[in-house]
Symmetry: C3
Subunit: 354 residues, 3 copies
């Protein structure tokens, strides 16, 4: 193969992103600025004004490999890249007469998915995912929803076994909450586990735009075997915002950080439209629960297939120090010729300080 | 955002349906009449003859939300909508010398998937899914297949551990059954469980068009823990007919109905080309069997991912009264801006009458 | 329906293949020569030179069915079709001072996926999948990678819990291995099971083109219940080369052959971008391990959904004699109007010779 042979498949990062979104919902996705380096190079090849174009010598194979590697390195070195806004932040409720009160406002914002890539998002409290709600089995909870969106909405508490009138499905269990209106849900938390809340009205679009969040219920009596030093919620998505973990694409994703010997609990939640088999390097995951229900016996894997609407809880015993890639193993959700992107993060196992 | 701002992503129901079908097999799908309301509105904006067009004032945000909500409400209020033809009906066999005889005729019909949406279907006995065959382990069964289709066919009994010459794979275990010809299968039913029968010739097309059905085998000795008051087969599909449950798209799907305190057994069977994570609201499902084989220990979930060719049996203890949404959690298989459609039904838990 | 009615959906084999690849990565796929029979027929209808075209009489329905069936038969009768090159061959290491040394060269070749269909492949040692590495827990292993590709690469040992600096992720655990350069991995094999090795640099493209292989680790102490007479690795793929099992599409796939009464262990490994629910006819599979880790209790199925990056080990007790279809149950991955193709093979259970 000659030095100047073209790369075998000139798929660019942006075409990967577009394609991914197209497979999901065929709607336009704002493109990462990272993808712009091709144009920059093209521009630099333009001949000076008034002179005929002299084609530059083709770059050598090594030069091209170096260029590609530099893009890959740049992404990884930028990790974790700072972006505006952080989703999935644990929300402190107001407590009124023993009731934990959560005020959620649904509204449209611009959300920075990656550095410089802003997308239209429909959010709860200006976060994607929405604020993380963490309560305990048996708690009394009130959720005040205010709708500042241009269309009606409603909240379904996915996984909670609520009375029918709190289930959040317009025209089946409640009227839709119109633009400008408010609606209150109130219930006693019935079952523990890793659950979610999201719109159940025009949901393919509303959830795709960001109206989703984690609803974690601690059990009344903690199972000793499930005790963890780090408890991490990882919401997977693949809609209008591209491939994301907790609302951000690599390198703007957040690493999971722990210390040698610690136990990390990861609560995977899929709010997207595709499966995502999440693969952890260097250590296995012990699966302990599905949709908030304990598995009858824990089992081990390194790649866990998570389907839309599913939640899986795993424990990782952090016994292998280093920075470990942690990503969806549908490779076009995680890497392109321009480097890793989308559903990629890292598990960082720091040495224990003596 | 101004009142007249367009909806964020003007995906129509028909584009969702087309897209879904395209992802599956990229073949045309007859379009729901519901999708026509866009054109109706457009038509009403045409100026009266001979007069210049005067643009009407833009509808307010609230008007648009009301319009969308009205479409959503209309679909839900129509549920369960009456359509012509009902698939998956338990078939009574003739009994000849102790053999249960099922006569199946493969033929083309027009099948009403939703109200007013008729599609070409290749069927067994004019049903999609074909008639439900329910027998007992050890029964002697004869299936007489008559082929009135324009191409050859054959029946594979998916999940049954039959002698090789009854396996239904043309050129491997039998000759194809030519148009106009008949063929007889006969066997002693070897293994219990939730199985299927379908074409195994040109199957991507023939099964996609409807040549499929449930083949349920009751065990010789019923397991006490699996006793159910309601036994419901739910065949999932996503081919040429769009997203369907038992051959119909919401709101023409059939609710699962039971009474407080009852146990409902649901036998999920995927005859399509995509995964479908089925999500039940309000109650969990206890998974007891996979492909007709008991799971070593039952386990619980509220969202069960069912892949093509798989069968999963679950029990639901109906302890939460009300009408509960029950749908595929790949949201574009279940909802659009025009309301819920496709793979949506409801579990109705009626109050126990004292 | 008249005799000369067109087939309901004139999807050709090549359109199925293209569509499959498009869903995955939207890159061109070299097309099977089998798809050419349409053109051949068209050509034969051209009028002799100088004479006006006389349209031939339309073929009867039966003739068309016979033509389709002949294509189906031809594919099946050709199985297993001979093609150049065989992947997944167990590699004998050099042993140096007690270290098992594997020399792997990454290079581009033309790979014959089906008879006459050659595709560009990036390979380890000119095989797709690369040579099968089979070692024992606790072995000392050295892998010398030489890069003869036009871009940088690296090897990740997927599933092995290695020290961080052997994990094979450029810019996180090592520098990329540039074109023309070599790199050495060396480690003590930490955990048993069905693992894989593949590129982790520009991986959506490099793995898609063939830089992948099985890495099987025998346990130090064999579990009696897992003893098998036949141990078969089946690598699933769906990238640039179309739908393949061990690098070949049906009928060039390899049958799994055993004798009545034997136990067959199949190690499914998915190196593609889509799920593949593998369905075995005639007998069930007992699932014993996931990603190299024993399941807490074995469980049975006949259709096993395998997601990208996953490995599942199953045992089949060969107690049903005959040739049994064994295929992905996403039907467009396995059959078209031109017959079976892609992810199809057979389990052949030969009678025991007395």
């Amino acid at each position: 193969m000659p030095d100047d042979a073209p790369l075998p498949h000139p798929a660019t990062r942006r075409s990967f992103i577009r394609r991914g979104a197209a497979a999901a919902v065929a709607l336009p996705v704002v493109v990462s600025t990272l993808g712009a380096c091709g144009e920059t190079r093209a521009a630099s090849k333009a001949p000076p004004e008034g002179k005929p174009a002299v084609p530059p010598p083709p770059p050598s194979q090594r030069q091209k490999a170096d260029q590609m590697d530099a893009m890959h390195e740049k992404g990884i070195k930028a990790f974790p890249a700072k972006t505006e806004g952080q989703g999935n932040q644990v929300m402190q409720p107001r407590v009124e007469n023993g009731v934990k009160v959560y005020d959620l406002t649904a509204e449209e914002i611009q959300w920075e998915v990656e550095v410089g890539r802003k997308v239209k998002a429909w959010t709860y409290n200006r976060q994607v995912p929405g604020p993380q709600i963490r309560v305990r089995e048996g708690d009394r909870v009130r959720v005040n929803l205010t709708n500042r969106l241009p269309e009606s909405t409603a909240i379904h508490f996915h996984g909670l076994e609520l009375p029918n009138d709190q289930d959040g499905v317009p025209f089946i269990t409640q009227p839709p909450v119109k633009p400008g209106e408010s609606y209150t849900y109130e219930f006693t938390v019935p079952n523990a586990g890793s659950h979610m809340y999201h719109s159940h009205h025009n949901a393919a679009i509303q959830v795709g735009l960001g109206l989703l969040g984690a609803f974690v219920v601690e059990p009344k009596h903690q199972v000793r075997a499930h005790k963890a030093d780090v408890d991490y919620v990882m919401v997977l998505n693949d809609g209008y915002h591209g491939y994301t973990l907790n609302g951000k694409g690599f390198p703007a994703t957040e690493p999971v950080v722990c210390t040698m010997g610690q136990v990390v609990r990861i609560r995977f939640m899929n709010e997207g439209m595709m499966i995502h088999p999440m693969h952890l390097h260097g250590m296995h995951m012990t699966v302990i629960a599905k949709d908030g229900w304990d598995q009858p016996m824990p089992w081990k894997c390194d790649t866990l297939n998570i389907a839309p609407g599913e939640r899986w809880d795993v424990l990782v015993k952090a016994n292998n120090p280093g920075t470990w890639a942690f990503h969806c193993h549908i490779l076009p959700h995680a890497e392109s010729e321009h480097g890793m992107f989308g559903m990629v993060t890292a598990l960082v196992v720091k040495p224990a300080t003596a």
